[in-house]
């Protein structure tokens, strides 16, 4: 990431992601669903500090590994009695960015338990599996060849420290799954549908791999 992009990210006055944060804050306080409650009726926003550093996480009620977006939707369905927000839709991204921002600067803190060990291994396997017409694995670029160039861009180490983030190429905010989809298409593999468990497991592995790094949500990337 260039110095200019970092400057844009670090300054709330110029970060385009700030537009989504405004939306996220409005939604946090807005009443929704049959319960007539907003997020802020149950949670104080200050209590959301650190939450984003722990996702994806195992949810004991549905006994499944879920990411932050899915956790927000779970709250909507069960607590607010409102329809789930569309994955990758503007509303969910805004809310997830707003929650994520509360943990800005905190180290990623992914825990692995008996319940999630299998998911971590599955995520690692996906990361190392060759796939697509180009027959490339994630690891071949992001572990063996990082810092080299791919069509003029530097190959990063694939640490998802700032999602959902504003990508200048997208001219919009997008989730980690959208970014993964990008790489899948890049190696000519068929991407999974948004919300697929394979994506969540890969997200989990990547976040575990980046544990200890500081969260930058919502980041700005080229």
């Amino acid at each position: 990431m260039s110095r200019e992009t970092r400057a844009m990210q670090d300054d709330d006055a110029t970060s385009p992601a700030a537009l989504w944060l405004l939306d996220g804050e409005a939604q946090w306080n807005r009443k929704a669903g049959a319960s007539g409650k907003g997020c802020s009726d149950c949670h104080a926003i200050e209590k959301m500090k650190g939450v984003a550093t722990r996702f994806p996480a195992f949810d004991p009620s549905i006994r499944k590994l879920i990411n932050l977006d899915q956790r927000i939707n779970l709250c909507r369905l069960e607590q607010q009695k409102a329809p789930a927000l569309q994955l990758e839709g503007r509303e969910l991204l805004a809310l997830s960015a707003y929650v994520g921002k509360q943990s800005r600067g905190m180290p990623i803190d992914i825990s692995v338990s008996e319940n999630t060990k299998a998911s971590l291994d599955a995520g690692r396997a996906t990361f190392q599996r060759r796939q697509g017409q180009l027959n490339l694995s994630c690891a071949q670029c992001h572990e063996q060849n990082w810092s080299k160039s791919l069509a003029g861009s530097t190959i990063p180490q694939a640490h998802p420290t700032g999602y959902p983030l504003y990508r200048l190429e997208w001219q919009a905010l997008g989730s980690l799954q959208r970014r993964l989809r990008n790489c899948f298409i890049g190696v000519r593999a068929e991407p999974y549908a948004y919300g697929a468990q394979e994506y969540v497991e890969l997200e989990y592995y990547l976040m575990w791999r980046a544990r200890g790094m500081k969260l930058e949500t919502p980041a700005v990337r080229p």
Binding site: A13, A18, L19, L22, Q171
Partner: protein, 106 residues
């Protein structure tokens, strides 16, 4: 609903050059892109931006296709007296957004 963010220093010395930054949430659809079925996506951009300082226009910009989404405009003016800055964006399909910011000049 339009979302805009303006960044103006709250206080300034008389005669000081102040930097103003504005960010407007907009898709800035160029009008040159086509859908998968080949139809042209109609142009939808912000076409004009003005900033007035106590009613007097101090900055104006015409925007065109090929300006990225969510345009960020940064410009300077001289702080002359306390008052309000009014920002106005207008564009295609009746797009209009206004925002004001107060400044105290000492």
């Amino acid at each position: 609903m339009a979302r805009v963010i303006v960044n103006v220093p709250a206080t300034a010395k008389r005669g000081e050059v102040i930097e103003i930054r504005t960010l407007a949430g907009h898709d800035m659809e160029t009008g040159f892109r086509r859908t998968q079925t080949g139809e042209l996506v109609p142009r939808n951009i912000i076409s004009s931006f003005t900033c007035s300082y106590n009613g007097e226009e101090v900055f104006r910009a015409d925007l065109h296709p090929a300006i990225a989404a969510n345009p960020l405009l940064s410009f300077t003016t001289v702080a002359t007296e306390s008052g309000t800055l009014e920002f106005r964006w207008t564009g295609d399909n009746g797009f209009s957004a206004t925002q004001t910011a107060a400044i105290t000049v000492v």
